[in-house]
Symmetry: C2
């Protein structure tokens, strides 16, 4: 048994925590403008060039999980020498009229199905038929292979700021990030790195990890004036997904920040809070008490960095003030709550953060702990993450990236996740929900717009 | 506990036998010609009318499985009062050039993903973008809800022989088959009926059932001159699927039958045998010994009908003569083998047949019996089923049905399934395989054509 290299716990926990109700992959939706002079066969040719280049696939995308005899059911990684490129790389199309609506419907479906564990844990879809001279890509990577932040970093690395660069490889052919560069990318990756060495029986460890993380958050919650109420988001989930995505100009959000003296993240949280209030009101499901959001924050450069844990990411609980009808009162509630929370910041161990997914934006299921959802009131109602992205326009073989939207992992008790990434002067919102428990998710997009407009009006 | 109506064993066995490697649903692919005068929005409008008519959904398609508290983990059916039509009914499209090749790729993917157990166990996709002024539909129904034969019968019932009939309901709005009519449809459905009452713990019963069915087949096999060899089809399978489909004129097959005096089914088996030989030769995987096929046969009107079991369907093992290069020798081998097998026909109990799926065309997994594949040489190499369909051209709101292709269920030890259904002067072949273990499945279509041409030449 000693000779079988087991999978690090940070990988295997996502295989063990997975079930048909809880697919454990992150996704990315990218929209591109077709390059000048692209003919009707442009995408078909692109597809064939992608499928044909098996030899360029990096080792990371050749890894497949297996449970070798003698490992007592524990997972290990092996290399797939029979890579079936047509399985991993798919050519899809949208039905007419090919609006973003049809795109989101397709991507919702793609995000709701399990990856095949007999193969390397990724899929990529090239999508044609999007109106407005555009096309899209959807990629899906198992969390055991890569967390959400890493997948955003990798997606950015695969692109170029030069619109004339051709012959660019697809994302699975991009050389891996060197360790030095990883550290340069900051805490999250360095932190993951520190966990790579752990190999132990996650089934035994996980309840304690989650419990510890919750205790830390509860300590923080105890200084908040409110406890998180039960909402329609804090229930057991099913396997199907809804995804909604839209971008908002960074200038609009910065204008609100400037007028209020708040942080950019406060404005984003206020946008979400107003939208959630409208959404829940419409469903007649707004609780009397305000919703509490868990928000991952970077600790780099902050005084609270604990050398002992190597921890440079924290989590704060923010009172979203969803019980307040007045947008200014709500905004004040949010900024004050965020300030208080930062003072009593929950410092979590790397594994705790991974388990609660403040770091990874893709939460580990509480599911492995039977009855968890029913027995314990949630310490927070949803996770809202803001992941920095590229600021300059990016291109893929001359096709300009218009938007990049993260798809995350709902789990039991957390049926909705909001992840935002910045790109080229815009904030790109990706909303991933359990299809059963988060109805009409698209309406949240309208509510986000209305909520921002309301803030602009209130502070203008 | 007595008050909870449990699911009949004939339903629940397919839920219990299901895993991510073994989805337990049957599928149907239908190709239609667009009706005269159909505008560019024809399919979009059709889609919206399908999605909008929730109230027409029959009770069968509202059933969802659940495991009530107090049932000790046993399954029961409940009614879904929150039917999400947009989840069940999907509008998809093919990428350019929209050939049958692109259609089969899409359908292969759709057939490889699990149905959501939190909802009624069916999906339907309307597919646009098929070249040649056509469109397609793919439907997917869990075997716990409906077996393959019933799904073909229902699909036929949903259509009309009149090209001018409009306002026709979709398949899920077709009233259920009356019991009298079911019996009129013959043995298979009456047989299923006789099993409906059984509610017992399948986990305890299944190994004995499968063992009994195998013993019966082995007794038959013992009179065959050959034992089934191991082939690439008789291995553990993965969750992804390949599907290939094509139709052949019944006139061509009848001409061979006439020239040889064999049965229609003999000619179909000979076509398959020649194709399998070519396919396996190409992969350098042809065994020295001939492949053995399990073939369901109807016993109605035959002397062997056993009143005790109510059994009117049997299974025969046919030596496919794949070791013989000469098509005439191979054909002779097949017809002789089929005649011998019919004399020592394996009479199986209803449950045994369901377990081996001679009846249902969708085999129950041997998977629940750990180690089965490795410990026991297979009694046969693949199942080849021929299910009678409609003989006259059928229409759906004026759109003519061009072909109807069944998608079946591969399982551990049976990585390839061939199911054929007749329609309007053609035999429609549906080949469903495990994507990992049955590579280049499309080539079998070419080989089927070559095999038929070879037979025509040999007997012409």
């Amino acid at each position: 048994m000693a000779r079988i290299p087991l999978m690090p716990i940070t990988d295997s926990m996502f295989l063990i925590g997975e079930s048909r109700e809880h697919p454990m992959h992150v996704g990315g939706l990218q929209l591109y403008t077709l390059p000048d002079g692209a003919g009707p066969d442009y995408l078909s040719q692109l597809y064939h060039s992608l499928v044909g280049a098996e030899e360029t696939v990096q080792q990371l995308f050749r890894k497949r999980p297996r449970r070798p005899v003698g490992s007592l059911g524990q997972w290990s990684w092996s290399t797939d020498n029979q890579l079936d490129m047509e399985y991993h790389v798919r050519f899809s199309a949208l039905p007419r009229p090919g609006r973003v609506r049809e795109l989101l419907e397709l991507v919702s479906r793609l995000h709701g199905s399990l990856l095949d564990r007999h193969r390397p844990l990724w899929e990529f879809s090239l999508i044609e038929g999007l109106e407005g001279n555009r096309f899209a890509t959807y990629s899906k990577v198992h969390h055991a292979l890569m967390d959400g932040v890493s997948s955003i970093i990798l997606a950015n690395r695969a692109l170029s700021t030069d619109s004339t660069t051709m012959g660019m490889p697809p994302v699975w052919a991009v050389p891996p990030i060197e360790k030095a560069e990883r550290n340069g990318q900051g805490g999250p990756l360095a932190l993951l790195e520190s966990l790579r060495g752990m190999t132990t029986d996650i089934a035994g460890v996980l309840p304690a990890v989650v419990k510890g993380a919750q205790t830390a958050l509860r300590e923080q919650a105890s200084v908040l004036p409110f406890q998180a109420p039960r909402t329609i988001f804090n229930v057991q989930i099913t396997g199907a997904r809804r995804f909604a995505a839209q971008k908002w100009s960074l200038d609009r959000i910065k204008a609100v920040r400037k007028a209020t003296g708040a942080t950019l993240n406060d404005v984003v949280l206020a946008m979400c809070a107003g939208a959630l209030r409208r959404y829940l009101l419409e469903l007649d499901a707004l609780p009397d008490r305000p919703l509490i959001s868990m928000v991952p924050v970077s600790l780099r450069g902050k005084q609270k960095r604990s050398e002992a844990s190597g921890n440079s990411v924290g989590a704060i609980l923010v009172n979203l003030g969803t019980h307040l009808a007045d947008p200014v009162e709500r905004f004040t509630q949010i900024t004050e709550s965020a300030q208080v929370a930062k003072r009593s910041l929950a410092e979590l161990s790397p594994l705790q953060i991974l388990a609660l997914s403040g770091l990874t934006m893709a939460p580990l299921a509480f599911a492995p702990i039977p009855g968890f959802v029913n027995l314990t009131p949630p310490p927070f109602n949803l996770i809202i993450s803001n992941v920095p992205g590229a600021q300059k326009p990016l291109f893929w073989n001359g096709a300009e990236l218009q938007g990049m939207y993260p798809l995350s992992i709902p789990y039991d008790g957390q049926a909705l996740n909001i992840t935002i990434t910045s790109y080229a002067g815009a904030l790109n919102f990706g909303l991933t929900g359990c299809r059963r428990n988060v109805p009409h998710l698209q309406r949240l997009l309208t509510h986000l717009e209305d909520s921002l407009a309301e803030l602009e009006k209130a502070v203008g």
